[in-house]
């Protein structure tokens, strides 16, 4: 085994061009476990923790770029304005894990339980990839994640980061697990409201082979906010049956399996509960005066 320690993005891309079998290592919170338990013996590892170009957060033209090397601890400190992302970041692991784990790692591992992923899905984020030979390309999150722990990345590419259009409106990330820390989600949900376009967006984690969007639920609640006049006047509340139907549609979008962390039925119920809470929080937040 060989470990390569590039100091810049150019150097890292050159390594990936010449050594396509080299496995990228960032915070190590997934990869090191496989290495420690002898499940992974790559011929080469390329360490990205010194590549400072990957550890940036940038806002430009109404868009946000989150570098692949940004840790959950950094999101917790520096992105208070992005509440769903902040809540997801705070729910990851423990202080030790958040100091090391990165968004790029969540993307590269592409586990349906990656807590940042439902947030990126709800934001309709693009994943930015780069290779030395072909330069940069951008894939929507759903084109990038092709299956459980499978992505569309080419062997000579690195994940540079994620980019999304900044939304105006409330949102949240919440998850279900056995304790508040060190939990692999049994079900996770991100809901964001896009006030400008009159859309509610809902993404689910840990309840299917990949991250799922609850599109029928999104259409139902977005339309209900329209017909009730609530988009124009947030003080207008939605009738309970509308919220019930929304929660049912979100639960119906899940494709859960039974496994050691929970049954399919429990996960589906979890989605129902998370959906009801998330929409209630968002509707309450919309009623708050803007100066709060």
């Amino acid at each position: 085994m060989e470990v390569l320690l590039p100091e810049s993005l150019d150097e890292a891309l050159a390594i990936k061009a010449d050594r396509q079998e080299a496995i990228p290592l960032a915070g190590g919170t997934d990869l090191m476990v496989d290495l420690n338990f002898g499940r992974l013996r790559p011929s080469a590892i390329v360490d990205l923790s010194r590549v400072s170009e990957l550890a940036i957060i940038r806002q430009e033209n109404g868009h946000v770029f989150l570098g692949a090397g940004v840790t959950y601890a950094t999101i917790g400190r520096e992105m208070p304005a992005f509440k769903p992302l902040l809540q997801a970041a705070r729910s990851v692991g423990s202080p030790q894990i958040r100091n090391r784990g990165t968004v790029g790692g969540n993307l590269g591992t592409a586990s349906p339980a990656g807590d940042a992923l439902p947030v990126l899905a709800a934001y309709d984020a693009d994943v930015i990839l780069r290779s030395r030979a072909r330069g940069e390309r951008s894939l929507s999150w759903h084109a990038f994640i092709t299956g459980p722990k499978k992505t569309a990345i080419a062997p000579d590419e690195l994940i540079i980061g994620a980019r999304w259009r900044r939304l105006r409106g409330p949102g949240s990330f919440s998850k279900i697990g056995t304790r508040n820390a060190m939990v692999i989600s049994v079900a996770g949900l991100c809901l964001v409201v896009d006030e400008e376009n009159g859309r509610v967006k809902v993404a689910l984690g840990s309840v299917g082979p990949t991250i799922l969007r609850a599109t029928q639920a999104e259409e139902q609640i977005s339309a209900a906010l329209g017909t009730s006049g609530s988009w124009q006047d947030p003080a207008v509340s939605l009738p309970d049956p509308v919220i019930d139907e929304f929660a049912e549609l979100v639960a119906g979008a899940a494709q859960p399996l039974d496994d050691v962390r929970g049954t399919a039925a429990y996960r589906r119920h979890g989605c129902r509960v998370l959906a009801r809470r998330a929409i209630s929080w968002a509707l309450n937040e919309r009623r708050l005066p803007a100066w709060l």
Binding site: M1, F37, D47, S49, A73, S94, Q96, I97, N99
Partner: protein, 156 residues
């Protein structure tokens, strides 16, 4: 590969298998046995160290990732044979039973009290959420944190 890092202020190096974790580098190559090896998957916190000042599970860091970097371990907290005030508080509060988790806890508590000299109970629980103890039931550990925090504030 030859890995070289500054550990508790001294430059140390060793020729190790490139897949060696920082934890195994510290224990097997440098003979620093304070950081404990238990879960090897970041669950238990008993291998907690500082890498460039940030608290981390050394089992989840490749030793090569710490090459040319600064590492501080539990051994770096003590002053010769004198216990660090946090260690003293753990002993007095009965927060040490089998003792296996203690170095990781002491490092995590030191990290917390360095950032927040008077942490709320919720902050303490959150800061120690990555460390497991199977003996104490945690209450005496929380008592030790309060005792250590009060003493360190009094000394400051």
């Amino acid at each position: 590969m030859v890995v070289r890092m500054r550990v508790n202020g001294d430059w140390r190096e060793a020729d190790v298998w490139p897949g060696t974790s920082l934890l195994m580098f510290l224990r097997d190559a440098l003979g620093l046995y304070g950081s404990k090896n238990a879960c090897e998957q970041g669950e238990c916190g008993s291998c907690s160290v500082w890498l460039d000042g940030a608290l981390a599970c050394s089992c989840l860091v490749l030793a090569a990732q710490a090459h040319q970097r600064e590492v501080r371990t539990i051994e770096g907290l003590t002053n010769g044979d004198r216990l660090h005030p946090i260690q003293g508080a753990f002993v007095e509060a009965g927060a040490v039973q089998c003792g296996f988790c203690t170095p990781g806890f002491v490092v995590a508590v030191a990290d917390l009290l360095n950032k927040d000299a008077n942490p709320s109970p919720a902050t303490v629980r959150e800061a120690l959420s990555g460390n497991l103890c199977r003996c104490t039931g945690y209450q005496k550990i929380l008592d030790a944190v309060n005792l250590a925090a009060a003493r360190l504030r009094a000394d400051a």
